[in-house]
């Protein structure tokens, strides 16, 4: 049973999500990884080191859905599974590919129970659906944060395809958030801020604590809508899904759409003025009080304890 994984990449580097997708599906069969980028070589090189990878295929072009659909639909005949992470590219292209092949995809998989049995969350994670997919081929997206990354140390061969990847749409601008914090979706620690921060300047308090902990930064939709944080920091049903070892939620009430994004967190810490906030009730450890007093003290205290990351 052969598997094709579409690689995720950003700024010329392989995204951490891909190692997790490969880790998740390598039990299904030998994995080929497809890298589609303007300059795929460095990305392909990283992908070739992942254990479980038999071969890396490369193609030049953009990652827009219609172009990827055309390329993937020609490659699919060779595979039983075509898989991507449930990131913005995978969500964009995989349902399109599935419909083109007259297949029903299984998306946002959080557990693989067997060759054709998968768990996926519905209702913002308040229910888990177990499905059996008896179709001849399987088009899947994987929630990367739910799986452990494949090890490295492999040296799979790299093969360039000569299919050009073209789209009817044109990418005319990108607006990215410049930040040197870890990748939110796969970070080990995440510090999240809510609308209680009150301004973009105040949100820097969250960033300061995150820096101290070597953590990624998350935000609620309310904080993003208010312009305190960029959209790619949003955590929740409609933002990023995270599964860190530690999530520190500051000034966040814990609306069910936000909770949908943090169910995979191992430990949750909440800082909130309201002892009745749902996130306080759910947290492993909560401190009731004003975040503007607590965060500076917390940073000082972590310094005193000599915490280094």
């Amino acid at each position: 049973m052969s598997v094709l994984v579409l690689a995720d990449h950003d700024r010329g580097a392989l995204s951490p999500a891909t190692a997790r997708v490969v880790g998740a599906v390598s039990e299904l069969g030998p994995v080929d990884v497809l890298v589609v980028a303007d300059d795929p070589s460095a990305i392909a090189q990283s992908a070739s080191t992942l254990s479980g990878v038999a071969k890396v295929l490369t193609a030049k072009g953009s990652s827009l859905a219609d172009g990827l659909e055309t390329l993937l639909s020609t490659l699919t005949v060779r595979y039983h599974y075509v898989v991507a992470s449930a990131g913005s590219v995978g969500k964009d292209v995989m349902p399109r590919l599935a419909a083109k092949l007259d297949l029903m995809p299984v998306t946002d998989i959080i557990a693989i129970r067997g060759p054709n049995s998968f768990d996926r969350p519905i209702y913002a994670g308040n229910a888990i659906q177990t499905v059996t997919d008896n179709q001849l081929r399987h088009v899947l997206t994987i929630r990367a944060s739910a799986f452990r990354p494949a090890a490295s140390g492999n040296a799979a061969p790299i093969e360039a395809l000569d299919n050009p990847v073209a789209s009817a749409a044109n990418l005319i601008a990108t607006h990215r958030t410049e930040s040197d914090t870890p990748d939110l979706a796969t970070a080990q620690i995440v510090v999240g801020g809510g609308v209680a921060l009150g301004s973009a300047e105040n949100f820097q308090l969250i960033e300061k604590l995150a820096k101290k902990l070597g953590a990624a930064i998350g935000a609620t939709r309310a904080a993003v809508d208010a312009g305190y944080a960029p959209n790619d920091w949003q955590v929740g049903q409609t933002g990023k899904i995270i599964a860190p070892d530690l999530y520190i939620a500051i000034g966040i009430s814990g609306a069910l759409q936000h909770l949908a994004g943090i169910q995979g967190a191992k430990k949750i810490v909440a800082i909130n003025t309201d002892p009745e906030a749902p996130l306080v009730k759910l947290a492993d450890v909560a401190l009731i009080g004003d975040l503007f007093e607590i965060i500076p003290q917390l940073i000082a205290e972590l310094d005193r304890l000599g915490l280094k990351r």
């Binding site: 913005s88 749409a169 810490v269």
Partner: protein, 252 residues
């Protein structure tokens, strides 16, 4: 220009759902249902385009039981011109929904089809992309801005790394994210007026589409419960907890 908007009636996003103890599904009887929030943003976008002179007609379509009429009426009250209900009592998979919508696209030939990016019940995030494949149209998913420019549209999308803007020729498929706009609450006169707007109900069977499910849902279970935690009294205790947790983390 003609705009088609697909809207779904779902369990209201404020309802805390309950999984049936026998694993057969989620309790939906006696629960408030309303228009999927993302679809509201799609309707609002279509109405705004029409008000700006870009859409002569905004047609809304919903697939579901007879009661799905109420979300069509909501969309008509928001300013859509005409509604189509494709009636079925079956819970259809997204592929079947996309195939039915493709038939409507073939009949109506809209320049833009707007959909929500995802339905908050099944959380699939499929139908817009599937419809784009079936109708062979370019797509811009997760839109936070739509501008008509010349003969095409420029759509800003929310993506993992921030935002990006695509330019697409028409006809095209666009799916709406929540920051696209602020959906209006229709005033009472508009609600009254909506009742006199054309609304056609047609049985799903009429479209000659294979609606049989492809996947077998074995069971629906509640998510694992978290064990209740504790409240600490001081920043020092909190810091000690965090420091201990961090030092126990296995290095990645």
């Amino acid at each position: 220009m003609k705009i088609l908007v697909a809207i779904k009636r779902v369990v209201d996003h404020n309802v805390r759902i309950r999984v049936r103890p026998d694993g057969t599904g989620v309790e939906t009887s006696g629960v408030r249902l309303s228009m999927n929030p993302f679809c509201k943003h799609a309707v609002e976008a279509a109405v705004q385009l029409s008000e700006a002179g870009h859409g002569d007609e905004v047609v809304v379509v919903s697939i579901g039981p007879k009661t799905a009429n109420d979300v069509i009426l909501t969309a008509l009250a928001m300013g859509a011109h005409r509604g189509i209900l494709i009636e079925t009592d079956a819970a259809l998979e997204t592929l079947a929904i996309a195939k039915l919508l493709a038939k409507v696209v073939a009949e109506e030939n809209p320049d833009i089809v707007l959909l929500g990016k995802q339905a908050v019940d099944d959380d699939s995030n499929h139908v817009g992309q599937m419809l784009a494949a079936l109708t062979n149209r370019p797509q811009a998913t997760f839109a936070s801005e739509i501008k008509v420019v010349g003969q095409g549209v420029e759509v800003t999308r929310e993506v993992d790394s921030g935002r990006e803007t695509l330019s697409l020729p028409l006809p095209a498929i666009v799916t709406a994210d929540l920051r696209l706009n602020t959906p209006r609450n229709a005033a009472l006169p508009m609600v009254m007026k909506a009742r006199s707007k054309p609304l056609a109900a047609r049985p799903a069977a009429e479209f000659g589409v294979d609606l049989a499910p492809r996947l077998v849902v074995e069971k629906i279970s509640p998510p694992p419960e978290r064990v209740a935690g504790k409240t600490v009294d001081s920043v020092a205790e909190l810091a000690a907890f965090i420091a201990a947790d961090v030092s126990n983390m296995e290095a990645l």
